[in-house]
């Protein structure tokens, strides 16, 4: 493979050298009372001694790594990971394959993945769309385009995370399979519906999971056959190139209700409850009757705000004395959220049985509903189906469900920080992330980070870096979203490159650059030369 041509003889040794250096840094890190963070390590030395000390330290580490080289010349085992232990991925364009057969912009993708390989990334993430593969008729799968793409990835030597997308996307437009949409014409109840009767057609309502609405089959059964077809089509790559499969759990793949419209001009809107399709209402009614309050099952909360309103404009989410804190509120929210969790459980257990014969890991994505997080009622999370309030940890149950299915949790929004969020939204992506991490940790769930957007805002990458370096226990991998013109633009890519090559490095003053240079070069060489 052409990529590995450059000086491969040094790759092993520099890799082990790198490990030594890292472990030494790690050692320093273990002494939090003196030097609380890696960043401070060099800083303090620089400040309190002199710049030379910093340089000397760098040299010392290099020397030690040199010594280690000679002892540990052996084939490299394991793939390069950043010192933080986080494997890095980049997402393919959403429309890498849009007609099932051909790869869009294949030359760009080929160049792009080569670049990523040289950069030392672990792999790429590939969204595979239900609406592309099983587009025309139930059970007719067209895998050839994706197969070609997987082969490209395997050839370059990258790993692959596959996202099976049972949802649709607006930008670029990839709808649900045509035959599903046709069924939707005659059976509108397969889609979510809001209070005003508006349908959400970008995924099938979780209320029909087990109902034989799709030509006599239940959606769960259709998903299962899709997964089986995928598994058998790609069996030769499972566990070797394809390392992880993530299941789409709802809108945008996330475990949530489509509580907010895709194109909301109102950032401050929390969205609405989505329990108004006839099946949802039927289940609610049943549940209400079973719990002895039949009147509670006639509809959703009547005092919830609509899309254009502030959550505090009506009674349900009111900070003090809102309906959410009443027994009715608790009844409804418990039911609403448990429906979501059991949907997630359903799909993840389905996946774990389909892929049980392979060594791939499984994952599912949850949303990062960070706006209004700093209120007591957390209205954005509640309407999305996550019963998380000041009184109740909603992520515990979710993490527990992921743990039950041995799935990793994909968390988006690691590029978001509190500072740029609008004040009025009382948002806090950082605090929410911390809460999710804690729930994962508690239940032993590994999680995978993603960013929300490629954007020129340098704060995004800074925040990612922060998340990858600090408090990253349990962080399994990180996927940059995603390849495309913006990603490779001179605006973004150089900063991305810099981030990747410096990820596990302590912050160095500019006068320590020489040392840093040698340090960095070892890493990137190492990363670049690995097969």
């Amino acid at each position: 493979m052409e990529v590995s041509m450059i000086g491969s003889s040094t790759s092993c040794s520099s890799s082990s050298a790198n490990k030594i250096v890292r472990s030494e840094l790690g050692f320093c890190d273990l002494n939090p009372r003196i030097l609380p963070t890696k960043n401070k390590l060099f800083f303090d030395w620089k400040k309190h001694r002199c710049s030379k000390a910093g340089i000397r330290l760098m040299l010392k580490t290099s020397i030690r790594s040199e010594a280690a080289n000679s002892e540990t010349v052996r084939p490299c085992s394991g793939r390069p990971r950043s010192a933080s232990g986080v494997k890095l991925f980049v997402g393919f364009p959403l429309d890498a394959v849009s007609d099932g057969k051909t790869i869009n912009n294949s030359r760009a993708i080929a160049a792009g993945i080569k670049a990523l390989k040289l950069l030392g990334l672990e792999g790429v993430e590939l969204p595979i769309w239900w609406g592309v593969v099983e587009k025309e008729a139930m059970g007719c799968y067209e895998w050839s385009g994706y197969r070609a793409l997987v082969e490209m990835v395997a050839k370059v030597g990258l790993k692959l995370h596959v996202s099976l997308c049972f949802h649709a996307t607006k930008q670029p437009r990839i709808p649900l399979p045509e035959w599903v949409m046709q069924i939707g014409e005659t059976q509108p109840a397969i889609f979510f519906k809001d209070r005003s009767g508006r349908q959400y057609k970008d995924c099938i309502s979780l209320a029909v999971d087990d109902l034989p609405v799709l030509n006599g089959k239940s959606p769960i059964r259709v998903y299962q056959q899709f997964c089986e077809s995928f598994n058998s089509t790609f069996s030769d790559f499972m566990g070797s190139t394809i390392m992880d499969v993530s299941m789409s759990l709802g809108p945008n793949g996330e475990l949530r209700y489509p509580s907010y419209p895709a194109k909301s001009s109102q950032i401050l809107s929390v969205g609405e409850f989505q329990c108004y399709d006839e099946n949802m209402l039927a289940i609610l009614k049943q549940h209400a009757e079973a719990s002895g309050n039949p009147y509670w099952g006639l509809s959703g909360p009547h005092d919830a705000p609509n899309y254009d309103q502030s959550p505090m404009a009506s009674n349900f989410f009111r900070e003090h004395g809102g309906s959410w804190e009443t027994p009715y509120g608790n009844f409804f929210l418990s039911w609403y959220s448990s429906q979501l969790i059991s949907h997630g459980d359903h799909l993840l257990s389905l996946a774990s049985s389909v892929f049980s014969n392979t060594s791939v890991t499984l994952s599912g994505k949850i949303p990062l509903m960070h706006s209004w997080y700093k209120t007591r009622s957390h209205p954005s999370e509640l309407v999305a189906g996550i019963y998380n309030t000041i009184n109740r940890d909603g992520y515990e149950a979710i993490a527990e469900m992921f743990a039950r299915n041995s799935c990793k949790m994909i968390v988006p929004g690691l590029d978001l920080s509190d500072e740029p969020q609008p004040q009025e939204s009382l948002s806090s992506p950082e605090l929410l992330l911390a809460q999710i991490k804690q729930a994962c940790r508690k239940h032993g769930v590994e999680f995978c980070g993603q960013n929300t957007l490629v954007s020129g805002d340098p704060r995004g990458l800074e925040q990612i870096k922060k998340n990858l370096v600090n408090d990253n226990e349990g962080l399994n991998s990180f996927t940059f979203q995603r390849m495309g013109a913006e990603f490779f633009s001179p605006l973004y890519f150089p900063t991305f490159t810099k981030l990747v090559t410096t990820l596990d490095q302590p912050e160095l003053g500019s006068d320590d650059l020489e040392g840093a240079e040698s340090f960095r070069s070892m890493r990137s060489l190492n990363l670049g030369l690995q097969k």
Binding site: R56, E66, A111, L118, P172, L453, S489, S518
Partner: protein, 852 residues
């Protein structure tokens, strides 16, 4: 040394009786002893010792006192301060360059020898023209032609050192290089210049390269040296300079007068014939001289006496003063002064030194009150050059009543003590590091190299991916459409290539400077420009400039120009931002006009905040005697070309650009004459200043064949693209190729056909730039219609073009399958196929349709 000890007394007598100069021999010995001292002290160029003024003993000793005795005598001397400075000055030496062509010893070959009879480290910088090569560019000679020791320079030249060789006819030392070549080879001419590595000077012939043609171009007559003989030396075509650093004048060619046959009509015939010519050159040779200073205290008068003596054999004027404190501020002391002293602008005294009787130098003596603690001076020589102490004034400490030399630390320069501290530190550092580093260094270099190549590969791949993704139908992944619709310039962006949807307005014309208040005039138009659909405005160059248009910048930080002052500029930029227009500053980085002349009268010393010296100027433009490196691009000959390879230059320019970004608020750059330097430096500047949009003017001439513009201008376009690539895509470039074609090779756009041009650029990919004058003319409504059509159909810089028709009277194309345009009087109708075309805009000889 007693000779020195004696002198103070004698000086007085000198002054009282100038004719009485009994000790001239001794002074000479003094300087000799000092130079031996120099050898002993090895690295230090000054020699200094301080002596306690003890009882004065005036005793003469023999003149041939050995240097070593100095130590003995110190104690018995009353010399307070004694120092010898080594002076470096430039002397002009005349010599000659000789060029000889003759049949070689091997009869098959011919030999060109170039010699020079002056001392120096001579290098022949040369290249050849091949027979079928029409251009005047140099090429590298074939390998077999290159003498031993030749080094290829870039891909077009060879440098071969001249070797000290046999004595020439007159028995003088000669540096010479001989190039043997086969007369049957494809060489049409040999071009060369001579370079003296010792001084870094280049020697050309009348401002052009020496050229030895082997083809007859007799029709060229006028400039050809030795043309009558059918061949000889003539200037090459590489420059049009007239004011050359070092001119070589043809002294009447010696020898080889006759024997020439002319065959004027036979243009391509190759005729070899020996010749020998000489050219006078003047080389500036550094000359070492010494300056000795001694200070004595006269016990009787309590005055200090400073005695200066130098071996410079010409007129020397001392500009001098005294200082009262350690600030070394100049004061004029009260008289009496030595003879031949004049006050100079109330700041200094000028005293002409008196020639020694033996003619080997001159001397002066100065008596000063003891209240002064130091004596300051510089020397001025007869050629108006100045000599000082490594950049600062000479300073001589004086003994004063409260300042006994025994207790006072010597303050010769202040540098010395610092330097010692430095040295200690460095030695320590080296001691600590050297053992660690040696191993590491080589490996580090290697890994660094490998890393660089990997990074380059990554960059290349990413650029490829970028260009493909970008040119595919823009699908804005994952971003909500609503966000993208409002394309306001983001607060912070760092691309240099913008969004691709920019429409640029050149916000000035060549006359705009005349009103003196252009900024304010444009201020009034900002809102209108915005409403017309412009997103970017290109403002005129803002810096102080030698030419009123602004393209001959002088002090980069002085932003008061003929267009208005800095405050008006700021207000204008603010105004444009308010109406949503991005502002490009026109920055001239290729060249800069100097503030001062150097000692040769060449304007190459800069002033202002960036007071660079001649190291900031490229070395290969002999106009300006730069001492930098060779230019990384073509030279602009009207002003000193900046040497961007110098770190300090780049640092200063980056700081300046960042200052412009912050202080003025510019969002990006229009880079003037980027042909003059390597695109990689541009990348450096853009990375540092993070412009939102940048465009470079890479303007060179289109390809012409027999006076007609070539139809295929791909080579021209490729040179621009190469530049963009060197800048790693951080900046765009003006499409001068298309511009040139549209202009049909004229300076101005063909009159009356402007709208055809706009119909083209406003419907086609690229970033259209509309000239201010055209916006506010009768074309306004048509331009406005085209702009809004462009915006409506979201045509951007990488839209796709399908040429539908290209005939002598009509060009037609379909862009992004959304817009059809025809230019020219001929007939065209968009094909009625999948799209329905509806007529949109029409003007003189153009028509535009939109798909509906």
């Amino acid at each position: 040394m007693s000779a020195v000890a004696l002198e103070p007394l004698l000086h007085k007598s000198y002054r009282q009786n100038p004719r009485f100069r009994p000790r001239s021999l001794k002074t000479k010995h003094f300087s000799l002893s000092c130079s031996s001292n120099k050898r002993l002290s090895n690295s230090s160029s000054t020699f200094c010792n301080f002596k306690t003024p003890i009882v004065h003993s005036a005793k003469a000793t023999s003149t041939d006192t050995a240097f070593l005795e100095t130590q003995e005598n110190e104690t018995s001397s009353d010399t307070f301060f004694k120092e010898t400075f080594h002076l470096k000055r430039i002397q002009k030496v005349e010599g000659k360059i000789s060029v000889r062509l003759r049949r070689g010893d091997d009869k098959e070959k011919w030999q060109l020898s170039v010699g020079c009879n002056l001392h120096g480290n001579w290098i022949l910088h040369w290249g050849v023209n091949y027979i079928d090569d029409v251009g005047s560019e140099w090429d590298q000679p074939p390998l077999e032609m290159r003498p031993a020791g030749s080094v290829p320079i870039k891909d077009y030249a060879i440098e071969t050192p001249l070797t000290k060789s046999s004595l020439d006819l007159e028995g003088e030392m000669l540096h010479e290089v001989k190039i043997d070549f086969n007369p049957d080879s494809e060489i049409a001419a040999i071009n060369f210049v001579l370079k003296d590595e010792e001084t870094g000077s280049w020697y050309q012939h009348r401002g052009r390269d020496f050229k030895v043609p082997f083809l007859d171009y007799l029709h060229h007559g006028s400039n050809v040296v030795g043309a009558k003989r059918g061949f000889g030396i003539w200037p090459g075509a590489l420059g049009q300079l007239s004011n050359i650093l070092i001119k070589t004048e043809v002294s009447s060619p010696k020898g080889q007068d006759g024997g020439s046959e002319i065959s004027g009509s036979d243009m391509q015939s190759r005729r070899f014939e020996g010749f020998y010519e000489e050219y006078a050159i003047v080389k500036e040779v550094p000359v070492d001289n010494t300056l000795s200073i001694s200070v004595n205290k006269c016990p009787e008068t309590a005055k200090n006496n400073v005695y200066l003596e130098t071996d410079i054999p010409e007129d020397v004027v001392v500009h001098w003063g005294v200082c009262k404190g350690t600030d070394k501020k100049w004061y004029i002391p009260p008289g009496p002064y030595p003879p031949e002293t004049k006050a100079f602008k109330n700041k200094a005294l000028r005293t002409q030194l008196q020639f020694k009787e033996d003619g080997l130098g001159s001397w002066g003596s100065f008596t000063l009150d003891e209240e002064f603690i130091g004596f300051l001076f510089v020397l001025k020589l007869s050629d108006n050059s100045w000599l000082n102490d490594k950049g600062s004034d000479f300073y001589v400490p004086l003994p004063s009543s409260g300042n006994l030399p025994a207790s006072s630390p010597p303050q010769v320069s202040g540098e010395e003590t610092d330097q010692r501290a430095y040295t200690d530190e460095i030695i320590n550092e080296i001691r600590n590091l050297v053992s660690d580093i040696s191993l590491e260094k080589s490996r580090k270099a290697k890994t660094k190299e490998a890393q660089e190549s990997i990074l380059q590969e990554i960059e290349k791949l990413a650029a490829e991916a970028y260009s493909i993704f970008r040119s595919s139908i823009p699908t804005f992944t994952e971003a909500t459409v609503a966000e993208l619709e409002t394309q306001k310039p983001p607060a912070k962006f760092c691309s240099g290539t913008g969004t691709g949807f920019e429409i640029l307005c050149q916000g000035f014309n060549w006359e705009s400077h005349k009103s003196g208040r252009w900024y304010m005039e444009l201020y009034e138009k900002a809102e209108e420009l915005s409403s017309l659909g412009f997103t970017v405005v290109w403002l005129p160059p803002p810096t102080e400039s030698v030419s009123p248009e602004g393209y001959m910048p002088k002090d980069l930080y002085n932003l008061n120009s003929r267009y208005g002052n800095i405050e008006e500029l700021k207000a204008l930029v603010k105004r444009f931002h308010e109406v949503g227009i991005i502002v490009l500053g026109d920055v001239v980085l290729n060249h800069r006009c100097a503030h001062y002349q150097n000692k040769n009268g060449v304007w190459n010393i800069f002033g202002g905040r960036l007071n660079w010296d001649d190291c900031a100027i490229v070395a290969d433009d002999p106009h300006f005697q730069g001492r930098g490196n060779k230019s990384s691009g073509d030279n602009f000959h009207a002003a000193p070309n900046i040497d961007h390879s110098q770190d300090f230059v780049r640092k200063d320019i980056k700081e300046w650009l960042c200052w412009l970004r912050e202080e003025i608020g510019y969002d990006g750059w229009r880079l003037d004459f980027v042909r003059g330097f390597w695109g990689g430096y541009v990348k450096d500047y853009l990375d540092a200043s993070e412009p939102y949009f940048a465009v470079g003017e890479y303007w060179d001439s289109l390809g012409y064949t027999y006076g007609e513009m070539d139809h295929n201008q791909d080579a021209h376009r490729q040179r621009i693209i190469d530049w963009i690539n060197a800048a790693s895509g951080t900046a765009g470039a003006f499409d001068v190729t298309t511009k040139g074609i549209l202009h049909s090779g004229h300076w101005r756009f063909p009159s009356g056909k402007e709208m055809q041009g706009y119909a083209y650029i406003l419907t086609h990919p690229g970033t259209p730039s509309v000239f201010y004058d055209h916006i506010f003319s009768h074309y306004k409504s048509e331009i406005l219609a085209l702009i809004s059509l462009r915006n409506r159909n979201k045509i951007h810089c990488r839209s796709t073009v399908k040429i539908a028709k290209a005939e002598s009277d009509v060009y037609a194309a379909i862009i992004d399958e959304k817009v059809a345009v025809k230019i020219g009087p001929g007939h065209f109708e968009p094909p009625s196929g999948s799209q329905n075309w509806s007529f949109a805009i029409e003007g003189k000889d153009y028509k535009v349709w939109e798909a509906s």
